[in-house]
Amino acid sequence: MKKFASLYATLDATTKTTEKVDALTQYFSESSPSDAAWAVYFLSGRKLRQVIPTRKLQIWAAEIAGIPDWLFEESRSTVGDLAETIALILPSQTEGTHRPLAEWVEQVLLTLRDASEEQQKLAVLAAWSSMDHQQAFVWNKLITGSFRVGVSQLLVTRALSRVSGASTEAIAHRLMGDWQPTSAFFAGLISTDHSDSDVSRPYPFCLAHALAGPPEDLGNIDDWQAEWKWDGIRSQFIRRVGQTFVWSRGEELVTERYPELKQLGESIPEGSVIDGEILPWKDGHVLPFAELQRRIGRKTIEKKLLEEVPVVLMAYDLIESNGLDVRNRPMEWRRTKLEEMAAVVSSPTFHLSKLVSADSWTDLAAKREMSRSHNVEGLMLKRKISPYRVGRVTGDWWKWKINPLTVDAVLIYAQGGSGKRAGLFTDYTFGVWDDGKLVTIAKAYSGLTDDEIKQVDAFVRRNTLETFGPVRTVKPELVFELGFEGIQKSSRHKSGIAVRFPRMLRWRTDKPAAEADTLATVRKLLPGGSE
């Protein structure tokens, strides 16, 4: 636990990739395989289900510190993080525990699940009293299932590769899917024998950056393949040895949630892996993302929902063909293979992503302007000679999204941020005018510069009208231009409207609150115009 807590502190303190990889490399070379397995598990973003409600932890910690609940709450809202607040108010323990990470997890954390509340409390208090500040912080993150640190899985793979000599691709592949963090798994993870395979195992996804400059900078348009950028769940569809597996981008196996796709597997040739998007699709049209959300997270699907929100697979790419990994073949070659497959697969749930052809970038830009009417987010540009790479790469694949819908709204509530933004008011709720009153239209957290955040934070502190717990009602004075990707009717929101991916585009210091948009104007942005 000492080494893991100190690794966390090092990773947390630096933004330099080389220093992070060095720290990881050192950790993996010094740790036992059982500790290393758990470290990989947590560092790659996997989480154990929370076993003790945070509320309980808060009460126990306040009890030990001898402070009332409201004072703990005040502290937490300043610190911005529950696990850290607890660690900060606990009596200091300078020596810390020497017990290994794997033991803490397997012999303490995992046994908490089936323990009585009394036993849980005893175990947690005993853990706290044996840990130093840094360990208690990491421990709290682990038991609350909120452990996060600024390393990508890519850096973890790089460090593991450096320690073991196994290739980063093999390690990345072995990290996909379901696995148990045991010493045996870790031995396999860093094995230099690359012949391993697993029928369900997906490939790491190839991701794209947003195109920032003009498309002309990409060179000749004939070197590029353009497709619509759909808004669904990016997934990998696997058909091997007569079985079907559907993985989401979050590396979650979701086959059982989409019986339509499981059935589709019957018509897909053996030894195929398709990169595509799960889309809600009905009567020849894509449905809004919010409809798909009704199916995400549901393990058992009622018949009614299946009828209301059927899904399809929009196929983008073929990365395994006839049982062979074809990721290093050019995009153009893989596209041809995908088209050949589409020609023989006759299933209403299988859609081949259409190519958007254009003679020039200007022509393509004009087609991109039509995105909203196709219910897509814009275009995807892929270099025809590009391999299917690992992770978010620069140069070969680009997202070329359309400009967002915008609305000028007034800041009405503010709440403290967390993590790096702890102690600052960074989470905002915005309203638009309706009949002389402001109705909530969206919440947004991102889009302001650090300087602007400071200014808004100072404004919030000086102009608080009311405080409800962590939320402050502020004088309706500041106007921001909000951008969002989609808008639709919603009965769950007071305004009757739900927006997708709202963020602040700019601070309209030139606009008084009275001139912000009205709900009527916002309704006009709904598909089909006004209500």
């Binding site: 303190a13 630096t14 009332p68 502290s75 900060l88 102690g423 502190r461």
Partner: protein, 337 residues
């Protein structure tokens, strides 16, 4: 209804029977100053009164034309029947608590203070009073300071590591007080210590007041071509990311401040290291001070006013908020430390 001995006005804290202000933020006839930090000592008043040992710094800060009288710690002056005296606050050189007594009633205005060891100024003196007016910059139980010897060990360890890696160590701390306290704890056998101009000016005042500090050199006096690897440079936080700081590369940066106790603030500063090191009282210190004062009435100024007031009320004290123009809820190390 009894009138209070100290009240808040739009010019600052006023003692009505004595007709003087304590740390006024607007020009007044008579200003009694707790210490020379800019949010407490503002220019423009007709006459100033401060503790003797802090006079030099105050004069430097306010300009040579400011009319400043001073008193030794503990010396009492009576003005309009009000007895006024200065007592060490342990915040920076010359920082004082102001004791005000009128017809047997005693008020203490702490100004900024801390209880921790600091060889660069006189230690905080616990005084008894009826009403205590305390700061609350770090008035939450998450703010607790480790002994300064531990922090110095961390700082010197960081310096040593940087030296071995051929890097300079650039340490940020407020130029009056924090910087000199940092210098006092540095192990000069590790390497040379250089100072930013703003820090240098204040350090000269400390040396003039015979505070013992290891030898230092102003950065501006370093010959061109100086190799900065292994050196320690002390600078105010405003120098972070400035063109001035570029010449020290390769460099490791650190910030010394009480705000570094919280991870989010530490990360926001974008420095390589954050040392939890404050010249303000921490939560246990605040509790201990109020208790030792035996005050029945507690007035809470700049910082976490509401929670501190509520806490003392729930502990059975008569506690109130006192709004001041000192750097209230500021969460930025440069302004408040």
């Amino acid at each position: 209804m009894t009138t209070h001995l100290i009240i808040q006005t739009d010019r600052g804290l006023l003692c009505p029977p004595g007709d003087f202000y304590i740390d006024p933020w607007k020009p007044v006839d008579r200003a009694v100053i707790t210490h020379a930090h800019s949010d407490h000592a503002r220019a423009g008043s007709a006459r100033y009164l401060c503790a003797q040992v802090g006079r030099g710094i105050l004069q430097t800060r306010l300009g040579s034309t400011a009319m400043i009288d001073s008193l030794a710690f503990g010396e009492v002056v009576t003005h309009n029947g009000v007895q006024v005296s200065f007592h060490p606050a342990g915040h920076v050189l010359g920082s004082s608590q102001i004791r005000v007594e009128f017809k047997g009633e005693v008020w203490i205005v702490t100004g900024d203070y801390k209880l921790d060891a600091d060889s660069t100024c006189a230690p905080f003196e616990n005084l008894r009073c009826h009403s205590l007016l305390t700061e609350s910059t770090f008035g939450l139980p998450v703010y607790r300071w480790a002994p300064s010897s531990e922090v110095f060990a961390e700082i010197n360890g960081w310096w040593q590591t940087n030296r071995e890696a051929g890097k300079a160590s650039l340490l940020f701390g407020y130029s009056l007080g924090k910087a000199q306290r940092l210098i006092s704890g540095l192990d000069a056998s590790i390497g040379p210590i250089y100072l930013h101009g703003a820090v240098e000016r204040m350090t000269q005042e400390y040396r003039a007041a015979e505070v013992s500090l290891p030898p230092t050199t102003p950065v501006s006096m370093a010959p061109t071509g100086t190799k900065w690897g292994g050196a320690m440079i002390i600078a105010p936080p405003s120098a972070h990311h400035s063109p001035w700081a570029r010449k020290f590369a390769p460099v490791s940066t650190a910030m010394a401040s009480g705000w570094m106790r919280v991870r989010g603030t530490r990360r926001r500063r974008a420095v390589d290291r954050g040392f939890v090191f404050s010249d303000h009282v921490d939560w246990p210190g605040l509790m201990a001070t109020v208790k030792a004062s035996e005050a029945e009435h507690v007035w809470v100024t700049h910082g976490f006013i509401e929670p501190v007031v509520r806490w003392f009320r729930e502990s059975g004290l008569d506690a109130h908020a006192m709004r001041t123009a000192y750097e209230g809820e500021a969460d930025e190390p440069e302004v408040s430390e």
